[in-house]
Symmetry: C2
Subunit: 375 residues, 2 copies
Amino acid sequence: MSKFGKMKESSRESMSAVSLSALNDAGLSPREVDSAFYSNAFGITEKQLHIGPLINTSLGIPEKPSIAIESACSSSSAAMHEAYIHIASGADDICLVAGGEKLSHLSTMEATSYFAMGSDYAYEAINGVTFPGLYAAIAVAHMNKYGTTQKMLASVAIKNHENALSNPHAHLHRKLTEEAYLESPVVAYPFRLYDCCPFSDGSSAVVLASEEKARELKDELVEVAASERAGSVATLQERKDITGIDGAELAGRKAFRKAKISPSEIDVAEVHDCFTIAEIIATEDLGFFKKGKGGEAAIQGETALGGSLPVNTSGGLKAKGHPVSATGAAQLHELYEQLLQKSGNRQVEGAEYGLAHNVGATGGSCTVHILKRRR
Amino acid sequence: MSKFGKMKESSRESMSAVSLSALNDAGLSPREVDSAFYSNAFGITEKQLHIGPLINTSLGIPEKPSIAIESACSSSSAAMHEAYIHIASGADDICLVAGGEKLSHLSTMEATSYFAMGSDYAYEAINGVTFPGLYAAIAVAHMNKYGTTQKMLASVAIKNHENALSNPHAHLHRKLTEEAYLESPVVAYPFRLYDCCPFSDGSSAVVLASEEKARELKDELVEVAASERAGSVATLQERKDITGIDGAELAGRKAFRKAKISPSEIDVAEVHDCFTIAEIIATEDLGFFKKGKGGEAAIQGETALGGSLPVNTSGGLKAKGHPVSATGAAQLHELYEQLLQKSGNRQVEGAEYGLAHNVGATGGSCTVHILKRRR
């Protein structure tokens, strides 16, 4: 993955660079790629659609098939799922997945408006609600139903900023104190500035190979033990309950069934924390904590490094940053390093199973991957 | 598929409607869909990304996974390929594919500019070349190398307008004479207005099932004998030769190999005729006619109804219309009806094999499907 933050490169340049870097890491030449899966949901802000042939041409493989996959903030996880299915079908042996986004050329107002096109534009965005407002509604409902507090929200932000300090790829390298959190401006009650992930530029890539090919390439491997997707009712106002995300629960259950493990066997998790409340409900939806207990787990350090289940060791979307289409593949990048014990200061000792949970919009699309260390 | 032309509905509404219609035709309820693949490349002009959960919610299946697939003008063919791979992998038994586009709210200038984002924006569009200009360069090269004439181009347009007259879904129901063609304004030499497909609104959908499921549903079936994709160097200026499209040739060769047939066994073909020259080079790239002989074949009626290989019996992009993301699935719709002998006045008698050829941009992405009647 690239450094997240602000980049001068276009998405196509940055995605080409991380693709080449991932292929190098895998010991592969681009020519060995069978199919390429790219995500660049907001490429239109760079006036560029149909990015696949551009990246393939720059990698020297114009003849290879490529597609662009969009699933809002879960785009590159959805791309990874397609690559997984391609290999499972026997059609391909080696697939390249890359996601990237450049947003820093937009004003915050423009970026917020483009992001809002990932919600139901005709019912939500057009009436003035953007993602901070939608997730704030989720937070208020969670606080009302379960007694979740603002200090619990703060604890998620503080932990993720702390984790990001030891991640060289992270956008925000800034220790966050509870005082600074409480002094930051209100964005949409109960969210303060530090409840919200930043707008980031960046790219990330994953190379997926069939077991046979992977064995030829590496001694230490990470296996995809599950790749599962599900959806939820698109808009908040049509849901029965907004204190959890149905699609995330369903994708999680399917993934645990496929991997034949239970939530307690996960050693490290990257979850979709576009806002602090999102991490709390993710840990509940996935069965790591009981419904309504995610906030308490966070404030008690259960999800910190050294806790019972370290969550978002990378810094998460909150502090590593959230270049929309790069996020899913970046979560997998963090798990890959964790499972191969390459995470330095933020290493979860002996991690065997990692889970990545990536949500599109307010959960209309959800993807859960379970990765396993293989030796 | 919907009527192509101008629609009041949004893409999400139209795509929901054709999805339901395709499921009804297959004798399926939406609940039986395992995964949904949607294409809506220019959804951003309706301020809507992440269209999958919206359509799934309107179909009453919010829990099902969906993704949006973009491959410029070949988006829904690429979506069909993903569905095909999902079923081949055993992950899914029934997949829904739908593509749609609404463009009539844009001015011609705006629509041309959005389309140009499917080219290499930084090298092509930004310097003033849009798709009519790019394909005009291809046409000039073909004329110079092979002696292709403007009358040959005209014959493609006249044939496709004629075919569209008997297609109730077609955008343009207007008989075209050579005189009218020659009197129409020059768009980009050698193209006159009638060399260019129109901007159209519309949607189309396909239901794909595993052989076992399909057998339970219908007696008369259409089999996907091949679904193959390939790419080409992204920009014209970096290609060695622009009188053909490498990716289309490669995808075609792969498809014939997979289906175990030769080009001469195809009874009816839908090919990507965004401009008249595109149909001529498609028939050469696919091996229906020798390189440089496509124009002659067209003017001699080989590709007309009753000719040796009827091409674009639907009217093609040229006259049926080209609602970008609906085009690939609409080609499959035409072949489905042809192979089931449901094409009325434009029926190719006894058609057993049909081929669909769909190109993204100037051929950066190419998808070829071969369909076969099964009884």
